[in-house]
């Protein structure tokens, strides 16, 4: 198992390096990170521009720049940043933002998986009833719902509810700038801010997952060992949970873990609307709008690593849940 995990990670690393190289070329060849500085009025002195060019390694050939970057990353240095004249340390910043985004992604995935399992089991046991059809339709509806539209709707709904019912939904940011000290207050504040974005991100992912779980539940429920379990007189609930659901969850876990890429994409949109200072905001605002190749690369590296880890977890869980699978 350990050997398998190590081999999987080793295979993924070249893929990650190749993709960072491609993105590095793309970002470096097109946008000019100094376009803001150069178009400034009155125009800054030539020496300032040359200093900035030197600082951002723009005076070096492309391949050398990439080599500098990748050897820097090994030592924990993510390269010079454009923002704030280089005062921003990309490594620290992305570490901080990755935690913010990971918090959202984790809770959203758990919530989506729980809803999907419940909906899938109910749909499968009540196949072709009104309940099943309405769950199916709801699933399709969320599958077709643009994340940003639903997020705005939810946010506006929360604001309306705050105004009319005195509820205290937090609609902006990942935490409040001013809170009373103490770990409890901090956690409570973080949790409050998490509610709406988590619901947004979870409802978008749950749709396809519940369809998937329904299908694998139906497949499991129609198999012979379920008939045998029922014939032995095991209670229906136990058959459903211990025998059918356990089998159905094997492919389900893989699918949820493999969906991490799509969820990270959804998180970009969710963060954008709830104005979280997470990874998505880092990519769009600091990376793309400022033409900062090193920020884009750092984003890519961190999300790529997250995706590789999730794929690995999926594979390992597959082995844990399904005793027939053995890794050599």
């Amino acid at each position: 198992m350990l050997a398998f995990a190590i081999r999987r990670v080793l295979i993924s690393i070249p893929i990650l390096i190749v993709s960072t190289f491609i993105v590095f070329l793309l970002v470096s060849l097109s946008g000019d990170p100094l376009s803001n500085l150069k178009t400034k009025q009155p125009r800054p002195p030539e020496s300032t521009i040359r200093n900035a060019e030197h600082r951002l390694r723009l005076d070096q050939p492309l391949l050398e720049r990439y080599w500098h970057w990748i050897t820097g990353v090994v030592h924990g240095n993510f390269g010079p940043s454009v923002a704030g004249g280089g005062t921003l340390d990309i490594g620290t910043e992305i570490g901080h933002r990755a935690l913010v985004t990971l918090r959202l992604v984790f809770f959203a995935m758990v919530l989506a998986a729980v809803i999907a399992i419940i909906v899938g089991v109910i749909s499968a046991t009540k196949q072709y009833t009104k309940t099943d059809y309405s769950f199916t339709f709801t699933g399709f509806l969320f599958l077709a719902m643009p994340t940003f539209w639903f997020a705005i709707l939810l946010k506006e709904g929360a604001i309306w509810s705050n105004k009319h019912f005195g509820t205290k939904f937090k609609t902006l940011g990942e935490n409040s700038p001013t809170i009373s000290p103490g770990l409890g207050a901090h956690l409570f504040d973080d949790f409050n801010h998490l509610i709406l974005p988590t619901i947004t991100l979870a409802l978008i992912s749950y749709a396809s997952w519940s369809r998937f779980n329904r299908a694998s539940m139906i497949e499991a429920l129609s198999s012979d060992y379920i008939r045998l379990a029922r014939a032995k007189g095991i209670s229906p609930t136990r058959v459903l949970i211990r025998h059918a659901l356990r089998t159905a969850l094997i492919p389900f876990v893989t699918v949820t873990a493999l969906d991490i890429g799509a969820i990270l994409g959804g998180a970009i949109i969710t963060e954008y609307i709830y104005q979280w200072r997470g990874m998505g905001d880092f990519l769009l605002a600091d990376g793309l709008n400022l033409n900062d190749p090193y920020v884009v690369l750092a984003w890519l590296l961190v999300s790529g690593a997250a995706i590789i880890v999730f794929n690995l977890i999926a594979d390992i869980l597959y082995g844990v849940l399904d005793p027939r699978i053995r890794y050599e």
Binding site: I15, L26, V27, L141, A144, P146, F148, A215, V296
Partner: protein, 328 residues
């Protein structure tokens, strides 16, 4: 995509009997399968006709097909006939929906109905371009990869992995940010999205092609001296068509959601042109004061994506009779 990627190999299509226009009803085939149909009047039915019959039995898919055709007609024919233009302002500022302006107007006096129609045109054009081109590229790529097998297959699939590692929306933002504004906006956005979505098609088709290459008719073709190119295009590709058609419809939904999300965060279609995502983005601060600006473009996105998904669902049932009805 997780749903479509589970497609199984079905080989109900014989190349010589393939009839693309199965939308037109066969002359004497009744709309529903009638069990009391006289046994004597057996009519030769091609697989495509049988699929068309099964599709017509799928109520949601038929309703969706009608709705989608109506949306397309409204956008292209209605958009050309409507007396207000999306880029010419009227004298009615912030008008509520009424007879003169069915979807109201915004604060500068633009007629929302014409804007939504124009946005729908753009979004449909992009979605069609993306789905057609990425389906063609992905099908050929996947067919070659699966048919070749061995080292060629491994290398081709690692390339696909490279594409599938990262969230489409993030990479698309990076790419359109670099090339978007320079040229004809919507064409480049389509190219970028197509470049990022074809690997999904490729992976599914490759899985089916792997099964097909072991079939007797492939061996027969080899024995008859058919070249590899001929085998791929005349034997492998026609036999994966049923799976490809289903992926195509789901891609329409996926790409319209991707394009609108991209335009929403400001890396897609940009003013003076408009798209459904851009319209929602412009209306996000006006949800409470001028809700019509926000709801109508959103509803159009949902309508297109929802109907495309339902049509895909119907086609899956129609083209893949071996699949149990329980499968999504």
């Amino acid at each position: 995509m997780s749903r479509s990627s589970r497609g199984t190999g079905t080989h109900l299509v014989e190349p010589e009997t393939s009839r693309q226009g199965d939308g037109a009803a066969p002359r004497s085939a009744p709309d529903t399968i009638d069990p009391r149909e006289p046994v004597g009047s057996v009519e030769a039915r091609s697989p495509w006709r049988m699929a068309a019959r099964r599709f017509r039995k799928h109520k949601m898919a038929m309703i969706s097909l009608v709705v989608l055709i109506m949306v397309v007609l409204l956008a292209f024919v209605g958009g050309a006939m409507w007396h207000y233009k999306y880029n010419v302002w009227t004298n009615d500022l912030s008008a509520k929906p009424g007879w003169k302006h069915p979807f109201g107007t915004d604060s500068t006096g633009f007629d929302t109905f014409s804007e939504v129609l124009r946005g729908t045109q753009r979004s449909l054009e992009i979605a069609t371009f993306v789905s057609v081109s990425s389906t063609i590229v992905g099908t050929i790529y996947g067919a070659i990869s699966g048919y070749a097998g061995g080292v060629v297959d491994s290398i081709m699939m690692r390339v696909v992995d490279l594409f599938l590692t990262f969230p489409i929306i993030a990479i698309a933002a990076v790419l359109t940010h670099n090339i978007g504004p320079k040229a004809n906006g919507w064409f480049w956005i389509s190219m970028v999205l197509a470049a990022l979505t074809w690997p999904y098609v490729g992976r599914v088709v490759r899985g089916n092609a792997l099964a097909i290459r072991e079939k007797e008719y492939i061996e027969a073709a080899h024995a008859l001296g058919a070249s590899k190119t001929r085998v791929v295009f005349r034997h492998v590709v026609p036999n994966v068509i049923s799976v490809v058609i289903v992926i195509f419809t789901i891609l329409v939904a996926t790409s319209i959601l991707a394009e609108t999300a991209l335009s929403f965060v400001g890396f897609g279609v940009a003013a003076p042109d408009t798209s459904l995502g851009l319209l929602v983005s412009q209306a996000q601060t006006a949800v409470e004061t001028r809700p019509w600006l926000f709801y109508f473009p959103g509803l159009f996105i949902i309508m297109i994506a929802l109907t495309a998904n339902f049509i895909g669902d119907g086609l899956r049932d129609a083209l893949d009779p071996t699949a149990s009805k329980g499968r999504t």
